[in-house]
Amino acid sequence: MPLPSLTLTFRSLVLLLAAVTSVVLSARTQLALPDLVLPVVVAGALWVGPSRGAILGLVGGWLVDLMPPGSAVLGTAALLYAAAGLVAGAGRREGQTPFGWIATVGAAAAVVVTTGRLAVAALTGAPVQWPVVGVELLLTVVLCAVLVPVLVRCEQRLARGRG
């Protein structure tokens, strides 16, 4: 089975890169940053469907949870990204996917993750930085719209190259 292993390797590498980059970038800048892991999960889920998309989200979320300094509560990011993968996977369409649809699915996944984070903050008693949360949501939606078509094309090319 050479093809699944190739796309799988690509996806895991990009996920790892996104998780490390977001932590290291946060240490260097105080600017609001978009969620870098979400576009990878959305692109993968759009390609493979809901149940495999949710597994991909779960794996990506565990990477985020365990990447030092880690989440305040282990497993929260895993569950949030699994939900995002489920939502994005439900948006899979056969054949060529129009750009507008990809952007909509990315925005829906971003809203799912942000809502979950606000719920976690409310449950754990952490303060919420509303302006920062809003800006980050906006940046994530834009990044998803830009990055997801590129990632989907990469995966398509990898799949074709194998076959």
Partner: protein
């Protein structure tokens, strides 16, 4: 058929995640080891990508370049921050390990709550040591892996610090601003005074100190009182506290190994 087995795998993985989440919330065993394993696996990557990595790995072969680099480093911001840390009056007499922040977790909606330092168990760091900057208290070490450690910052939901307020030394505790009746914006801490004491705007808030100086030694600056709440029904006064350290621009910090008082206290005899 493949689809059902995949769905079954998803359900099993989700159930496992929920169980681990429950264990972490309940403070059960295993969560700490899992974090340490994550730190051992990914910590070196973060250290390698940290801003000071190239300066730290200086080779002995290029002596001239090394001298130039030393001069450059001496003028750099990190050197100034380290000098400020060594010269901070609050820390006089205490021993600390200088460290740099290599990773900041901003996954939650609360801004930075945890940071990663480039020191680990191999450098002698253990959990429950306090972390300081030149201006005052930063947080407490909560997870240690061989090369890195994770620090819970002051103001995060899980950290409460016993404090003394003002010249009178009124006792109280400082925690996350979202806890308590007043929902304060992020960047402000919540101060609860244990009994009816006087707290005024501008009063300094310092650590009360823990038994054996761990996690918090006494006398470290936490912040200053910003606003005293006017709540007629309250039995104890509450106030908002502005943290002494700007937690969003952390770079060079110190992990306190031993507090300022190292000589044992001598017993005194009453003369009345």
């Amino acid at each position: 058929m493949r689809d059902t087995s995949r769905r079954r795998l998803l359900v099993v993985l989700l159930a496992l995640t929920v169980v681990l989440l429950g264990v972490d919330v309940a403070g059960g065993p295993g969560a700490g080891q899992l974090r340490a394993a994550g730190g051992a696996a990914f910590g070196p990557v973060e250290r390698f990508l940290s801003p000071g990595a190239d300066a730290a790995g200086a080779g002995a072969s290029e002596a001239r370049a090394g001298v130039l680099r030393d001069q450059l480093v001496a003028q750099s911001r990190e050197a100034r921050e380290l000098a400020a840390l060594s010269g901070a009056p609050d820390l006089a007499g205490s021993t600390f390990l200088p460290a740099r922040v290599v990773g900041v977790g901003r996954q939650g909606a609360a801004g930075p709550e945890r940071v990663t330092l480039d020191l680990g168990a191999r450098d002698g760091v253990r959990t429950d040591l306090s972390v300081v900057a030149a201006e005052g208290l930063v947080g407490r070490v909560v997870a240690v892996s061989p090369w890195t450690c994770d620090v819970l910052l002051v103001g995060s939901a899980d950290l409460v610090v016993g404090v003394r307020v003002g010249a009178a030394g009124t006792l109280g505790s400082v925690g996350s601003g979202a806890r308590g009746p007043q929902h304060r914006p992020a960047g402000q801490l919540n101060l609860t005074v244990v009994e009816r004491g006087t707290v005024r705007t501008g009063d300094a808030v310092t650590t009360l100190g823990s038994v054996g100086g761990s996690p918090f030694p006494a006398g470290l600056r936490v912040g200053s009182v910003q606003h005293v709440d006017e709540a007629p029904g309250d039995l104890t006064p509450t106030a908002s506290v502005r943290p002494a350290v700007d937690l969003t621009t952390l770079d060079v910090v110190g992990v306190l190994l031993a507090g300022p008082r190292t000589t044992p206290r001598t017993p005194s005899t009453a003369t009345g």
